[in-house]
């Protein structure tokens, strides 16, 4: 990793996913959210518990990006997807599959890898 200043809460969350121990924040009513967060966005509860992410998720929607921002210029074309893991959704890049064959409803796992364009980390989904 570069020596950039951390985003506390978010970077620890990426660390956990990278280690295979990803989590989300669960409120007493069962709602999920992602860190950094102090209150449940649905109920306002401050009792947020780190809860393991399900092993696999389901692609809810996707797009193949052909024209990227400079930070992802060398990654194109790549498929981005929004994936449901229990009560939360994660957004990331799909790898391990032809981007043009990604579809809604596919089952994927989540990890953290590096961009091709830079050393920055990115949430990555792979077919389960």
């Amino acid at each position: 990793m570069s020596d950039r200043i951390k985003d506390t809460g978010y970077d620890e969350w990426l660390d956990a996913i990278e280690d295979g121990s990803g989590y989300y924040l669960q409120s007493p009513a069962g709602h999920g959210s992602l860190p950094p967060r102090r209150v449940c966005p649905y109920t306002g509860s401050t009792e947020l518990t780190e809860t393991p992410l399900p092993e696999t998720g389901t692609i809810e929607t996707y797009s193949v990006i052909y024209v990227a921002a400079p930070g992802f210029a060398d990654d194109t074309p790549y498929a981005t997807a929004v994936v449901t893991f229990g009560p939360v959704r994660l957004t990331g890049i799909v790898r391990g599959a032809d981007p043009e064959h990604v579809e809604t409803g596919q089952t994927v796992t989540v990890g953290v890898e590096h961009r091709k364009t830079s050393d920055d980390r990115v949430v990555v989904f792979r077919p389960a």
Binding site: T61, Y62, S63, Y66, A68, A69, P70, G71, R89, V122
Partner: protein
């Protein structure tokens, strides 16, 4: 509630003018608005100015006092930023201030200078209207975010790229006579479908262009118009605003835009009208799918029913309720921080009868403008009415 009138509107040509400074663009729009209004600059109580990416494009934050100076007015000046809805919320704030009695004359509008940036730099600057941690760092671009919504729409409700292409074709056709439009030329469904992909399922012709331009609106109280014998037949009778979570992943439904529904319901209630009363609308079609989401959010169609509206001819210039007679963001252009004001300017011209497309809505009395920020984490809706 005090009546707020549109005394005058001014626009620059929308297009590519990379060498023109933001202050020159806004000064031109303001000059036209003052000429149109017949209101003295010395009577202006406030400037409400919209801008999104000036810090990137011109290395210039704190733009409002610079724009007041450029426009030749001396009054409190404030910048409003709500991504692509920046000028919309600047107008909304002006309406509410005049209603409160705190001001009689406000200059509202906005400016965006974009084409002085390279396309990658502009793409980067636009992308940060999305959630930085959970979307931008996942490789989401502005077109990519709307592409995710389009795919979610297709999966939930059906429809296809050809349905969307008809929206682009319609809005290009509307732009042909509009002297302010970036693209005064028609395109075909085949051209849209054959264009290079940007972010599937959206191609280059599903997207609005990158645009330089400015808008300015002189808003006055009813009493000021009467006392100063100002001819201002168009009123803003309703204003509404809604917000949503920035990241698409955090929305309940990724093919619906409840912030715009909330804004529309607020504006309808203030004006005392229903969706069926609206004769003509300008909606935020930054991408073709965005026009569909807009029409459904403001109650013109049920969720899932708006996708084929353009293909069926229900929103074309010769239909009962034309949508985006200006050409919309798609063909007229989208200088981000100016767009919300441009919509008000175009609707005012349409209702007054001095727009090149006014002949399509000669009996229209009620118009609606829908201005969205990001993937509609922000939305501003206005209802305009003309004295008949």
């Amino acid at each position: 509630m005090k009546t707020v009138r549109v005394a005058g509107v001014g626009l620059t040509h929308f297009g590519s003018a990379p060498d023109r400074t933001g202050r020159d663009l806004f000064a031109e729009a303001a000059q036209r608005a003052f000429d149109d209004a017949g209101v003295a600059r010395s009577d202006v109580d406030e400037l409400n100015y919209g801008n999104f990416m000036g810090a990137d494009a011109e290395r210039q934050s704190h733009q409002a006092p610079i724009m007041a100076d450029a426009a030749g007015i001396h009054c409190p000046a404030t910048r409003y930023e709500l991504a692509c809805a920046s000028a919309g919320v600047a107008v909304r704030a002006a309406v509410r201030t005049i209603r409160s009695g705190a001001a009689d004359v406000i200059l509202a509008g906005g400016m965006e200078r974009m084409t002085n940036l390279s396309t990658p730099a502009a793409t980067d600057a636009l992308s940060i209207a999305a959630d930085s941690l959970f979307e931008v760092r996942a490789g989401i671009t502005f077109p990519g975010a709307y592409a995710l919504m389009a795919q979610a729409y297709f999966d939930s409700f059906g429809g296809d790229r050809e349905d969307l292409a008809h929206i682009a074709v319609k809005n290009h056709k509307n732009a042909v006579p509009n002297e302010y439009a970036q693209y005064q030329r028609e395109i075909t469904v085949g051209q849209v479908l054959d264009a290079p992909q940007v972010a599937s399922p959206l191609g280059l012709f599903d997207a609005c262009p990158i645009t330089d331009g400015a808008s300015a609106i002189v808003l006055v109280s009813d009493s000021y118009a009467t006392e100063n014998d100002i001819d201002a037949p168009v009123t803003i009778s309703g204003t509404g605003q809604g917000s949503d979570r920035a990241a698409l992943s955090e929305r309940e439904h990724m093919a619906q835009t409840p912030a715009a529904t909330a804004a529309a319901e607020m504006a309808y209630a203030e004006a005392g009208v229903t969706p069926d009363d609206v004769d003509v609308a300008e909606v935020h079609d930054c991408f073709t799918i965005a026009e569909v989401l807009a029409l459904e959010s403001i109650g013109f169609y049920e969720p899932g029913a708006g996708i084929g509206a353009a293909a069926r001819g229900e929103t074309t210039a010769d239909s009962d309720r034309p949508i985006n007679l200006s050409g919309g963001l798609k063909a007229k252009g989208h200088p981000v921080g100016a767009t919300g004001g441009s919509q008000i300017a175009e609707m005012t011209r349409l209702l007054r009868g001095d727009h090149p497309n006014s002949n399509h809505v000669s009996d229209a009395e009620i118009g609606l403008t829908h201005n969205a920020g990001g993937t509609v984490a922000s939305a501003v809706v206005h209802i305009l009415e003309v004295d008949k």
